[in-house]
């Protein structure tokens, strides 16, 4: 949980905000193992212990009848915190067993020693799992966006046509990732460049946990390579801006809590002369303007106005939801002293360097020497996992600091 142990990981010190560093060398004395684990996860364990104490006292406050409204609220809370209690009990049990095992490691009976050594390994694993997975997961509230798919917007940035060529490569990368993850990906809109490549695109990706997996892809992606179109073999640097939005499905009624219909201006794009029976040219483009926020969405890729409108509303809903999430992050940041990851999307987050066959994510200082595998979508998951882990750690740290 608190460590990224990878052969190619190297961290930039300023970004490495770990409070404790694990002394994970195998040479330490067995007796110190537990001590080290407890020391490293001191804050976590203190928080859990406090929650458990609170739970006990809540339990003792229940009246005998257990039927007052206050009781019912308490019972509900007790029920909710039961998994934490169980995990804590497991931790205590493993801890006790561990201490017993330590003594047996030096037993005179060789078969007993062998047994104890085995036990020692199992218990160490168990204890580590408690503090790195089980307990943190129970403390951090579950993601509210876990069920959401994503809308991924890609826009070419600096670098002209090379940027558009790379955008096409990125789109392919995400499509392949989606296939491999059994997500459903569909390009909603795409503007091709005459000279090849894609100027901008929006892709819809449906599936469980898609938004949570992809949300850290938002930001500026930089590519350094010799463009296919470059005759002199000079390396170019260009960028693609990515924004990942939570995919908001159409709600049944018109009672959206993100906006109301009268806040949205719907416009058709082109003049149609007399229209109606006089014209049979397909002109289905629509533009929405959300007046309070000034967000505009244009959609023309579908063959009917109805479809374009539906798509445009989906994008609008997703953008508004995204704003809401960003606002909540900002508020959390404002109310707590701890840093939460910046929501700045103009930040350069990743570099794809073809000459060096490497991809570096600048936020976590992760470098993978396997650019081809990543562009094929196969190894991108590794980057996403690292980012998600990093986020989980931040949330955890945030929680510990504010607890």
């Amino acid at each position: 949980m608190f460590r990224l142990l990878r052969p190619f990981v190297h961290r930039h010190p300023p970004l490495y905000r770990r409070a404790h560093v694990v002394a994970a060398n195998g040479n330490q004395a067995p007796a110190n193992t537990l001590q080290n684990i407890e020391k490293e996860h001191e804050r976590l364990l203190r928080v859990v212990e406090r929650r458990i104490t609170e739970r006990q006292s809540m339990y003792s406050q229940l009246t005998d009848q257990m039927s007052t409204p206050d009781d019912i609220a308490k019972l509900r809370q007790l029920k909710e915190s039961e998994p934490l209690q169980n995990a804590w009990d497991d931790w205590l049990k493993a801890r006790e067993a561990f201490n017993e095992t330590i003594e047996l490691l030096t037993d005179s009976d060789p078969s007993m020693r062998a047994l104890a050594t085995e036990e020692y390994t199992t218990l160490t694993e168990q204890l580590n799992k408690s503090v790195t997975e089980t307990l943190p997961q129970l403390l951090v509230p579950p993601s509210e966006t876990a069920h959401l798919g994503a809308l991924m917007e890609l826009k070419s940035g600096v670098g002209g046509s090379e940027s558009s060529l790379f955008l096409a490569d990125m789109l392919r990368m995400y499509q392949r990732l989606a296939n491999a993850s059994r997500w459903k990906a569909q390009v909603v809109t795409q503007n091709d460049l005459e000279t090849g490549g894609i100027k901008d695109a929006i892709m819809e990706i449906k599936g469980e946990g898609v938004y949570d997996s992809l949300r850290w892809e938002s930001g500026v992606h930089r590519v350094q390579r010799v463009p296919a179109t470059e005759a002199s073999g000079r390396v170019h640097t260009s960028t693609v801006a990515v924004v990942v939005l939570p995919l908001m499905e159409e709600t049944d009624g018109k009672n959206d809590d993100l906006f109301s219909m009268d806040e949205v201006k719907v416009e058709v794009m082109r003049a149609r002369g007399a229209g109606g029976q006089h014209v049979n040219k397909t002109e289905s483009a629509v533009r929405l303007t959300h007046i309070p926020s000034g967000i505009t969405v244009s959609m023309q890729d579908e063959r009917s106005q109805h479809q374009n409108k539906r798509r445009a509303f989906q994008v609008l809903r997703s953008r508004l939801m995204d704003r809401k999430i960003m606002r909540e992050i900002e508020e959390r940041r404002a109310t707590r002293l701890n840093l939460v990851r910046t929501a700045d999307r103009s930040e350069k987050i990743r570099t794809y360097n073809y000459a060096q066959d490497r991809v570096t994510d600048h936020r976590i200082g992760l470098t993978l020497k396997n650019l081809t595998g990543i562009m094929e979508g196969d190894d991108l998951q590794e980057v996403l996992d690292a980012l998600k882990k990093n986020h989980d750690e931040e949330v955890m740290e945030d929680m510990l600091n504010s607890a």
């Binding site: 416009e267 007399a274 109606g276 029976q277 006089h278 040219k281 009917s304 106005q305």
Partner: protein
Amino acid sequence: MQHRLFAKLAAQLGRQQASLEWKWMNDAIASDTSKNSLQDIVRRRCLGEPLQYILGTQPFGPLNLLVRPPVLIPRPETEHWVIKLSEAIRPTAQSPFSLLDIGTGSGCIPLLLCHLWPQGSVHTHGVDISPHAIRLANDNALLAGIPPPSDGDYLKRRNTFGTTPANFLAPTFPEEAMQIKPPFHIITSNPPYIPWKEFLELPRSVSEYEDPKALFGGPSGLEFYEAIARFVGRKDMMTSDGVVALEVGRGQAKAVEELIRTTGRVHHTEIWTDPWGIERTVIGRM
């Protein structure tokens, strides 16, 4: 090859429209809905044939309808007002409505309403003079999963769509309409409304491919509205709370409103504008 094809299309349609249609053509080929090659599609399109006929479909609201020459291609203006009508009137299965669509063409109006309204809340009927239209409308009903009317108990709980070939302008029509079991709660129509003068100025993709019988509304363009007004004016054709919804051509709304008011049966009228700001639909309530 591809570049040359696209360039050809762009020369014909302009680059922006060509890129969109290019995508739709490729989508149709990829999804197997079009049996033609891209080369054939582009060639036909460059000759002026409407894209909808070449691809064989046109989305209409949430429905994907079949289109076949020479039956009128459903227009976005029609899609817009029909969706609006589906929200303005809400029939229920407790007291189902009966709807007559005059000049049904592809069946787009009644089929979309059947799709949007609750099951069992409406029984629709389309009449058209063209056998091509009747066939297409029935094919579309099948595709949209909307059954023909039947006396079966089960079907009464579903929305239905039936067709009758008939010449609406013939003096015998009211007689024939009696077979469809009036009174109707709703009469909808997108009748031919293009006047003679404008007919001559239509783009080729309309005048050379779509059925003139679905477009030409007589010298004034109002011939069908006059007939509809006479039809509505008869007693027994509409319920006392009936609604008439008529699509009209640019500049015709006031005249049509006047026509249906003179029936004496319609007491309240309104005019809906289309997304392009043109007065497009006349709504009359009894």
